[in-house]
Each structure stands twice: as structure tokens, then as C-alpha cells.
Amino acid sequence: MSADVAESPTALADRGELALGLPESYLAAGHTLGSWLTATDHKRIAILYAISITLFFFIGGAAATIVRLELFTPKADVVGADTYNKLFTLHGVVMVWFFLIPSIPTTLGNFLLPLMIGARDMAFPKLNLASWYLNIAGGILTASAMLAGGIDTGWTFYVPYSTVFSNTAVSLGVLGVFVAGFSTIATGVNVIATTHTLRAPGMTWFKLPLFVWAMYTTSLIFVLATPVLAVTLLLVLAERVFGLPIFDPARGGDPILFQHLFWFYSHPAVYIMILPAMGVISEVITCFARRRIFGYSFMVYALVAISVIGFFTWGHHMFTSGMSPFAALVFSFLSFIVAVPSAIKVFNWTATLYRGQIGFESPMLYALGFVGLFTVGGLTGLFLASIPIDVHVQDTYFVVAHFHYIMVGASVSAYFAGLHFWWPKVTGRMYPETWAKFSAILMFFGFNLTFFPQFIAGYLGMPRRYHVYPPEFQVWNVLSSAGAAVLAAAYLMPLGYLTWSVFFGERARNDPWNASGLEWRTTSPPPRENFLGKPEVLAMPYNYHPEGAPPIKDRPRVPAQGSLT
């Protein structure tokens, strides 16, 4: 590795670093499969996660593709009702539990959190590795449920259908999700402990990068919400396998109780998907606008507020379940409240862009796409939080479109923004910028073409979870399916060019974006110990100036003020 670098000194940010003798990068610290599968290095574990969740992403994506193909025509001409139910369940279960929830926290979070706070590793490196194995074990259990005939309950496993009536492999799938929950809790414990105890000297709480704050608040949800889901899933298993009556109304049980417990986790889970995304976007926007983030402390308070208020909004999933009108009113109010910190974040990103020296590199394109899609998703969330409209569009494609805007549009865009932004740091290689820009634009276009027609179809009354529909909805479904094809292409392209760049990409400098933040103050890719010396933090985060150096390739690196290695 260091021999390669020595041959091309221009690839280095600083000749001085060459003279010092570069440390071996974490990628060069062992090339066998065993050295990866037993690694306690947070950077290697992040790569393991990246590979496994990419696999899950394409499994879930394949199921979605067949679903969209089936909905191209009003009749059942691709798959029948049973297969259709199993496909959308597979799509939901894999995407929610094995892609969206672990996506940013376990890949970017795992890789960057110690780097950003100037630590050598996570607080519990072995637990970190164990959590990957638990995630994989859960994934294998769920995948085997698919091989054992699939699940037809939908990703929510609603009772009493899932406990009493369904004859599919529900138990295996539920067990898989339960096991994956351990992984989530372990990650949460690790992140919280790391953030509290391993910050470099000078890295006070209000100098933490917003991405770290986002990971921290997400982890609070990980730790406090996941166990409730775990109990709920165990109760489903107890009822299904041992016949204990808990949710079955025929035996005195209460199916609404399931919904309360389930959504107590699963609504905060939406914030698990969006808070890390917000963290990524804050880093990217401030870097490419060359502006200090607007209202740093309010950005922090907003993250904390979203994670806390998120725990009090679960009831808005149950407006039509027979809950008392008073409870519905309270949950409606609380759901509106959570829009306030979300809006603060959007306003502050906009204010950061204002008078910025904006560069339209691909991470920024993804980030701007995020802001647009998140705003649409958030505003339609307000529709759904108001009881009368929710009753009208309950279980229609309006809801499907809304949560896809947040969970896929926003969250996946942010994942791609972060992936491109930190790709040079992770791999030591640059990706092909033209391809990346093209795929970012294509993704935004494809996403809107896929999901915006679903708002209309849903508003007109097309219900979700059906494989056939009245012919008058066909035009919206054709648009949506066409968009899905574009979106699929836009998701496949990064897989191609990012893989290519690992082997053939131009060598990345230590800080290709002229960014602030400790992670750029080490080599690309970082050494096993993360930093050459002991990092110390002197400046506030996001020390950008509009007149400062934009990320131009040939410009020599401008040492950032303050944060030093």
C-alpha cells in the first residue's frame, strides 16, 4: 500500500506526511477472509455491514420490482394473490429491518463515529463485531422463512392474522427480526458509550459534528424502543407456537394491544431511519455550501426533540382502529408537534445554503434531493396526522407514497450522499464524478416518477396490498411502474461505478472536499489506529467560509483552522 503511494506522490495531500512514513491503512492490515470476519476494527466491521446490507437491499428491491411489474396492469397476470402477498411482505421485512434500520448507523456510523470524535475505535469493539453476526443470523433466519414458503402478513405482522390464521412461515420470520433486534441494541449501547467516553481532548458536546449527534440520538431510540418490539415479537411467537392467548380476541386477548406495542417501536423506527440521514445531510450541505451550519445548537436540539417526541406519536397509526376519539386527538396533536423540529432542520439547511458558495458535486446533488423529498414526505405526514384526512386515505397508496418519500426518498438519498461524500475516506479512491452526478439526478427523477403518482392514486382511493385494482387507476400505476424501472437503474449504477472505483479509481487525497471535521485530518484510507498522533480539537465544527477554498481538485490542501492531528 505505502509502496503504491510512494510511486505517485501527487496522490497525497501533503508531502510532509510521506516523509513522516505513512502508517499502514486499515485495508492493508490483512487480506484473508478470516482477517475480515474476525476483525474488531470498526472500519472493517462497517465494510462487512456495507456488503451485507447491499445484499439485503437488492433482495428487497427485487421483490419490489416484481410487485411493480404485477401492478402494471389491473389484472393478475404476473403473480397471483398469495405470491403477491408474500412478495410485498418480503420487500417490507427485508427493507425495513435489514436495510433501512441498519443502513446509515452501521455503515457510515460505524466507520465515521470514532474518526469524527478522534477515538481509536468504538468503546466495545468485540460487541461491535458480535452485532454484525447477530444481524447476519437474523437475516439468515428471515431468508430461510422465505425459502420455507414465505410470509403473507405484511411487514407489520398484524395479529390476529399472523398468530391465528396465517399458514406461512411467520414464526421463522418473526424470530429473524427478533434476533436482528439484539444487533440493534448492541450497536446503540456501543454508540452511546463511545460518544460519552472516547471524545478527543477539546471535543465538547457542542463541538460534536451533527452526524455524531444524529447517531447518538438514533442510538437512544435503538436502546429504548427495540426491546418493546422484541417483547411484541416474542408474544406473537408465544401465541403462535405455544398457543398462549394474548392477542386473539376470540380467547379474550386484545389485538389493539399489539398495535400499541408494535407502533411504540415502529413509529420511532422511522426516526431511526431519518435521524442519521439528517446527520449526513448536515455534513454534506455545510461542506458544499462552504458555509458554517446555520443554527448549530438548534440543529442539535431539533435532533434530540425529534428522538424524544417520536416516542409519543405511535397512536397516529391507529386512528381507525377503534381507539377512543380523545386518544386520537392527543396523538394527532403530538404528531403535529414532531413536525416542528423537523421543519427547523429544513429551514436551517436552507439558511445554510443561502449566500453559500454552492458546489454541485454528487454528494451535494443527493443531499439537495434529500431536502426536497424529505419536505414532500414530511408535509404529507401532516395530512396523515390530521384525523379526517387520515380516515379518508387510510390504507391507500397515499400512505404508501408518504412513507416511501421519507424512508426511501429521504433516507436512501442521504445514504447515497454519505456514501459518495466519504467514499474517498473509506476506500482511498475517488469515484467517477460524472457517473455519480448522472445517477443522483436519475435517482431523484425516478423516485418522483415512482411515488408521486401513488399520492394521486391513493387520494382517489386505490387501496394498498391488492394485486388487482379497478382499471381507472391504471394510468397512475403505469407511471409508477415506469418510474420504478428508472429508479432500479439509478440504484444499480452506483453499484457498478463504485465497485469499479475501488480497483481503478483515482487515488483520493486526505481531504478531497476541503472539509472540516476530524475524519479528514487523517490519511485516506485511515490507518488501523485512525490517527497518527493524538487528535485535539480547538475550533468549532463546520469552520467553513464562503470565500474559503472550494473543493477544487488541483488546489493544494488548505490546512483547516483548528482541528489538528
Binding site: 474488531t40 477515538a119 481509536r120 475505535d121 468504538m122 468503546a123 466495545f124 469493539p125 468485540k126 460487541l127 441494541i185 446503540g188 449501547v189 456501543n190 452511546i192 458509550a193 460519552h196 467516553t197 472516547l198 436502546v223 429504548l224 424502543a225 427495540t226 426491546p227 418493546v228 422484541a230 417483547v231 411484541t232 416474542l234 408474544l235 408465544a238 401465541e239 405455544f242 398457543g243 398462549l244 392467548p245 394474548i246 380467547r251 379474550g252 386477548g253 386484545d254 394491544l257 406495542l261 411504540f264 489506529e529 493524538k534
Partner: protein, 221 residues
Amino acid sequence: MSAVGKLLREPWDGLGLPEERALARQRAVATFGIWIFLASEVLFFGAIVLAYTVMRLEHAAAFAAAARETNIVYGTLNSAILLTSALCAAVASKSAEHAALRRTSLWCLSATAALGLAFLAVKGLEYREDLGRHLVPGDAFPLREPAAQLFFAFYWFATGIHAIHLSIGVGLVGRLIWKGWRDPDFLPGNPQVEVGLLYWGLVDIVWIVLFPLLYLPGRSG
């Protein structure tokens, strides 16, 4: 390598601090981490208690009638056993901080594990009696109120989950005993001791909540 150096782990061994101070930080973080995990466990059992509470409010009379069928002698005996184990665990945790008290720590750890096993044995006897009386939700269930089956669903679920937690605790303490017995440097100052015994404390406290919920309703009048 010194006794302290052997206990140091990543990333605390790379802090550039003197070994004693690095180990002190490692201890502090391990304790902090297990407390976060215990907070998460509290939510886990909290959800069970919440579901139980909702059902009991809906079916107060049936729950009282069903709870009278539990065996309070076994329940009380188990509470006494587990509280005593908590005492041993606390003494073990404190004595393990000093190398001179290694024998005390080993004895207290052994007593903790033995009392844990005794709890499981008593619980097994109680389960056998419950099974003999068909107190399992299903067709042969003897009580007439339908919601009595709900009570026993929670009884089996909650005590079963608790027994699994306790078995894990016995395993953790057993491992500490085994390692501490083989290696005189293992126990003194090792963060694993406090972490394991804090977990034991949670399992204890959960039983203190479950006992009145499952055994005492319907017995006051």
C-alpha cells in the same frame, strides 16, 4: 505482562495512559455500557408489565381468581432465594476489587450461582405442579373464566422469560468463577465482574416486580 495489563482491552490499551488509569477508564465505560443495556432491559420487561396491566384492568375478577391458583409457597421461597443471591452478588462485586479478597469473591460468586440454580430448581418444581393441574391455556384448562387463561398466558410468558434471563446470569457468573479459579489475576479489578453482577441485579429486581403481580392478586381478602 502485568496483572493489570492482561485485563486491558481495545481501545483502552492504546490511550497512552498509565495502566492503572487506563483500566479505571475501561471499568467506568464497561459499567456505563451495562447500565445502558439494563435501561433497555427495563423497557423490555416494562412492556410485559404494561401488557399485563392492561389485561388485568380489563379482566380484574378473572385475574384475581387465576392468581389464587399460583403456588405462593414456591413463589415466596424463590423471592427469598433470589434476594439472598443478590446479597452474595453485591459482596462479590465489592470484594473482587481487592486482590487480597480473592477467596471471598470466589465463595460469594459460587453462592450466587448456587442460589440461582436453586431458584431454577424450585421454579421447575412449581412448573411441574402447574402442568399437573393443567394450568396451561388450552382445552384442558380447569378455570371457567376465559380471561383466566390470559393470566396464565402472562404467567408462563413472564416467568419463562425471567428464567431464561436468570439462566444466562448463572452462565455469566459460572464463567467468572471458572476463570477466577484458574487464574488468580482474573478477578481483582476486572470490569467483567461488576458488569456480570449488575446484570444479576436486574434479573433480581425483575422478579421482585413479577412476584406481587403474579402471586398476590386475589389473596388479600
